[in-house]
């Protein structure tokens, strides 16, 4: 057996054991920069992903729309388990998540939200389930991850009002993202450019953490890279340093 083939074989059996093998396929962001960095070249479906904002409400809003944009590009119904009542669904529609696909569940507390998520995750054919909680224990994350693996439904935990030390606890989630607002381009006229986010991949199985500056979701939920990074390679370095 050639050496490469043996290595391939070993890699696939390791991936099988650790569950890193993206058993349900991946969902690409459509941005090569991000997709190439993720194992499997995209966000693993049928897995649990954590998304964090910060204590500032505008970062929570950014994280919300980040998730909505991912789900907008998937097919099937979406369940959103709320603990706070400030979600404004027209904004999800603006990111491409059609209101007819969305069902809101209001379980009232963290525990209820996790139970509701698990119920939803057991039904194959749903595009995704989002749960807004502040605390997520390791055990709870394992349960969600297992349920997601079983059905192939993608799960997102949006952690809001989370204390810094609560995040130190281990989690079975496949990835952890932190999405925060970032200064947008100055158009030179009294108007706002497309919003920008700093998207940080803080933890991922099988790859290194990394962060990007991206332009926020368009009406189809697609992210984009700031034009300056794409079109003018000579300016990229200077811009990166400036940011």
């Amino acid at each position: 057996m050639p050496r490469n083939a043996i290595l391939e074989d070993l890699r696939s059996s390791i991936a099988h054991v650790t569950g890193d093998g993206c058993r349900h396929g991946v969902h690409p962001f459509g941005l090569d920069d991000i997709d190439d960095h993720l194992p499997g070249n995209g966000l693993a479906t049928g897995a649990l992903h954590e998304v964090l904002g910060s204590l500032d409400i505008c970062d929570d809003a950014a994280a919300t729309i980040f998730i909505a944009g991912i789900l907008a590009r998937m097919e099937g119904p979406v369940f959103w388990c709320l603990r706070w009542r400030d979600l404004f669904t027209p904004a999800l529609d603006l990111a491409g998540l059609h209101p007819d696909r969305l069902t809101i569940v209001e379980p009232g507390d963290d525990k209820g939200a996790l139970i509701a998520m698990e119920d939803c995750l057991r039904v194959a054919g749903i595009a995704g389930v989002v749960g807004e909680v502040s605390k997520l224990s390791t055990t709870a994350s394992k349960r969600l991850q297992l349920a997601a693996e079983g059905s192939g439904v993608t799960a997102f935990i949006l952690r809001r009002a989370a204390k810094a030390d609560a995040l130190l606890e281990g989690s079975a989630a496949q990835t952890r993202w932190r999405v925060t607002a970032s200064p947008s381009e100055n158009l030179g006229i009294p108007a706002l450019a497309r919003p920008r986010w700093s998207v940080a991949l803080e933890r991922v199985r099988g790859a290194e953490p990394k962060s990007w500056i991206v332009e926020a979701c368009d009406a189809q939920g697609r992210l984009a890279l700031p034009a300056i990074l794409v079109d003018r390679p000579d300016q990229q370095e200077a811009w990166r340093i400036a940011v």
Partner: protein, 464 residues
């Protein structure tokens, strides 16, 4: 009703009534028909309000509404609805809600409130204490004898030592008192609609464990699904009644979003309810009834044997609705209103596509701060966006802004910000602060006419 207005009261003699109204038309009481009517009313109440309804002949109904009020938005709303409907049908009703059947019985008959009375949980002693002894469901002779002895109110009886009075008037008196106060159990037999699909299991040995109850539930759902299959219907609602050894009934009710006769699904919905059943010393009989059924055709499989089924969302919706309450589960759809907080209308979960979407041009925040919170703003009047604002004690410097988007208030509405104040104009600005965060601010007033608003600033949301 008419009789009362002419001065005729219940238990008046016919001769006396004739002297009041000479051409009075006298009919014999038809007790059997009255009882039938009462049973019909009971079945109606059972379908609409609570799984457990018992008839208290000749003129009363018991409804066990514990755990049923979520559908109506609280006990008070349920009782109001019941009162309105019964009175609307031409009957005169007196309704009381209490912890114990005896207390509710007494209050409904002896408190002439003219509206539903709700006794606060735990207050039955206070409530019953103020009523006359006749309220205790004891023979009239005993009540009048005690009245002659000076007992005008039940609290006097509670205060007296029991022994001597019990010796003279029998233990029945104290049994009734204990029932009213919740110290003694009350046996009530629920009324079951005869023609509905139902399944029954009498048990040789009383059962009490959750596992055993779940097993019987599994058998019952199999039976009832077979019955539903025969009728070509599916259940929209199921009531499970457990008769205990002591004659008490424990009842739970589940609802389904769409008619179903899938035994596995129904079992899954019923089993989490076991924790609401108190088996006491054991359950002897379990009865499963489908009070609301709807036609359901058999699912057809195509020739390949592949049923092309989408995700089984009906079961999920039912599971979530039965766990958290139906009002905690909804979809949203656009609703035309000038004010952004009212452009979202709640609908049933997974309603089929009307394909209505929000205006894709207007920016709307992902997180809404409702009601809007006041902020301190430095801005040039009248047309300029804020230069900086202070919200929740934190100063934010505005780098870039877009706006205004002028919204005219809905002055015709009876509720909301417009009704509280006569101000009609909101100018919305989308602002980006240092660091990139985007907020949604508005100024109440157009900046020109003070009648349109006091020029105060509010924050209404945060963008991505």
């Amino acid at each position: 009703m008419l009789g009362r207005s002419l001065g005729i009261t219940p238990s008046m003699s016919v001769t006396k009534a004739r002297t009041l109204v000479p051409d009075l038309d006298v009919l014999d009481a038809d007790e059997a028909a009255d009882a039938q009517g009462l049973e019909r009313l009971a079945l109606w109440a059972g379908q609409r309000y609570a799984p457990f309804v018992a008839v208290d002949y000749p003129d009363g109904l018991w409804l066990d509404i514990s755990g049923c009020s979520e559908l109506f938005g609280g006990e008070e709303a349920l009782v109001k609805d019941l009162f309105r409907r019964v009175n609307g049908s031409g009957l005169t009703a007196q309704i009381a809600v209490a912890d114990t059947a005896g207390c509710a019985h007494a209050v409904a008959r002896h408190v002439p409130a003219g509206r539903p009375v709700i006794i606060v949980p735990g207050d039955q002693k206070k409530a019953v204490g103020l009523l006359p002894l006749a309220a205790l469901r004891i023979p009239a002779k005993v009540a009048s004898d005690l009245h002659k002895m000076g007992f005008t109110r039940i609290e006097q009886l509670i205060a007296e030592p029991r022994g001597p009075i019990a010796r003279r008037y029998g233990h029945e008196l104290y049994r009734r008192l204990d029932q009213a106060l919740g110290h003694a159990p009350e046996a009530m037999a629920p009324i079951f609609p005869p023609s509905l699909p139902q399944a029954r299991r009498g048990l040789l040995e009383p059962i009490g464990t959750a596992d055993a109850i779940a097993k019987v539930i599994g058998d019952l759902t199999d039976d009832i699904c077979a019955a539903l299959m025969r009728d070509g219907t599916g259940a929209r609602r199921l009531d499970l009644h457990c008769e205990r050894v002591d004659g008490q009934y424990q009842s739970v009710r589940i609802g389904m979003a769409s008619p179903t006769r899938d035994a596995r699904h129904l079992t899954k919905l019923l089993v989490p309810r076991i924790e609401r059943i108190d088996p006491g010393l054991g359950i002897e009989t379990m009865i499963l009834i489908a009070p609301i059924v709807e036609p359901l055709r058999s699912a057809q499989t195509d020739l390949t044997g592949d049923t092309h089924r989408g995700p089984d969302l009906g079961a999920l919706i039912d599971a979530l609705a039965n766990r958290f309450g139906r009002d905690r589960l909804y979809g949203t759809t656009p609703c035309s209103s000038a004010m952004p907080e009212r452009t979202v209308e709640r609908t049933m979960a997974l309603r089929e596509g009307a394909d209505r979407r929000w205006n894709a041009v207007l920016p709307r925040p992902g997180r809404m701060i409702e009601p809007p919170e006041p902020v301190q703003v430095i801005a040039m009047m009248p047309d300029h966006p804020p230069a900086q604002f202070v919200w929740r004690g934190k100063r934010r410097k505005v780098v870039q802004a877009d706006g205004p988007e002028r919204l005219q208030g809905e002055w015709w509405r009876a509720k909301g910000l417009e009704a509280d104040s006569p101000y009609l104009v909101r100018d919305y600005f989308q602002v980006e602060v240092e660091g990139g965060g985007r907020y949604w601010l508005f100024r109440l007033g157009d900046g020109q006419w003070s009648s349109t608003g006091p020029m105060a600033w509010f924050i209404h949301g945060a963008f991505a």
